[in-house]
């Protein structure tokens, strides 16, 4: 039986104006990077409700990427600042839940930064591969009564 390498699953919330466009550039430029990320386009990184991140992790994602415009460049002026303020709160919360910090990232990726997007996905994939699957269902089950 061939050794099956763990392929991490990443959910990516990418802002429509900068990051999704940057990701698209990576694609049209035929940059090679792991197919581990499922992209979800949102209008702004400020739209990303922490509930989305928590749900993705609870439902089987091994990692979540939130990507938005660089501070100062937000199409809606302030939206990415909301993402920036929510992120450390979310990280502190996930610490308490016993979810490794490496699993959730906030990155600023502009529309022209296709290469950076590919690098982030490559880097995050390898980090998650080393960390192993989150398998939140499994972690829960170990500490829950099966009734």
């Amino acid at each position: 039986m061939a050794h099956e390498q763990f392929e991490p699953k990443i959910v990516g919330f990418l802002c429509r104006w900068c990051s999704y466009t940057g990701a698209d550039l990576a694609g049209t430029s035929r940059m090679q990077y792991p197919a581990s990320l499922s992209a979800i386009r949102v209008m702004c990184s400020g739209r990303v409700d922490p509930t989305f991140v928590v749900k993705a992790l609870a439902d089987g994602a091994d990692g979540v990427l939130i990507a938005g415009c660089h501070p100062g460049d937000c199409h809606y002026l302030e939206g990415n600042y909301k993402a920036m303020r929510r992120y450390p709160l979310l990280m502190n919360l996930l610490d308490q839940f016993g979810i490794e910090r490496e699993r959730v990232r906030l990155e600023w990726i502009s529309a022209s930064e296709g290469e950076q997007f590919a690098e982030v996905v490559k880097d995050m994939t390898e980090e998650l591969r080393a960390l192993g699957p989150l398998d939140w269902d499994g972690r829960k089950a170990a500490l829950s009564e099966a009734i």
């Binding site: 928590v54 749900k55 919360l93 009564e145």
Partner: protein, 306 residues
Amino acid sequence: MVDLAEDILKVVEAVDIALWPVALDFKLKDVQAWEPGEVTVAFINGAVRLSEQLEWVKLLREKCPVVIAFGSCAHLGGIPGLGNYVTREQILANKYHNSVTVDNPEGTLPQPEASQNGYDLELPAFFKDVKPLDAVIDVDYYLPGCPPPPDLIFQAVEAILKGELPPKGSVIAPEKSLCESCRLNETKPETLSIKEFKRVATSTPDPDECFLAQGYICMGPATRSGCGERCINGNMPCRGCFGPTPEAMDMGAKMLSTLGSLGEADTEEESQALADSAADLVGTLYRFSLPVSLLQRRYVEEEVTQ
């Protein structure tokens, strides 16, 4: 029910109470003897963590056409739900070994079965985690609150007596958030901006200004209205005992979103400092609702001791 005070007499007039462990002397065997449907409604309070509790609630579900989860514990897991922040093993170790006042040199732990002086003794099993009522039986309605306020209880009892119950699965409380009925709502500024979270443990809120505007984590925006703001009127920010409004899939994450939005921080360092000023996010944001949250419990890697 005891909070109903004199109104309890109106209830007793209209109904027969067939089981009320805290006030009347009916036993398990009495309940086992009921015909299904003989007793119309069961109000069940408490979360489920013992096998005995599981046995009782399954029995009541079997016998009663209507089951109402009564109070935060049955509805959301409640304060005992914070037991999901640790493991069963940690709880037992703390209670029977490590706690300062424990003197237990033989390391005795409660056992489900034991023999003493020729008697065979049984204790309920202590589950690995805390569950809300609807995780173990089908629940028809929820009366939220810690505790549910008398007028809401009376509303529910009246609805049953008149046969005017809402759709199955309803929470018997308004759908609006607490802020809508809070008397401090009018003191909210146009823009709330929180530089640092304040704690009631270390400072006293101004009773005449919106607590959230002052920097205290008040769960009002994420919590159902209907309690009469008893805590607010006692100069305590809302702790969220009524549970989330219908659209919030996860009460804590939703409130976290709000706190982030209201934060005043223009750099990553300032954002981190703001986040670090909140002492215990799980305990504050999921104080009553940890078992029904999306993640349900904390994960701790346990040492396998056997």
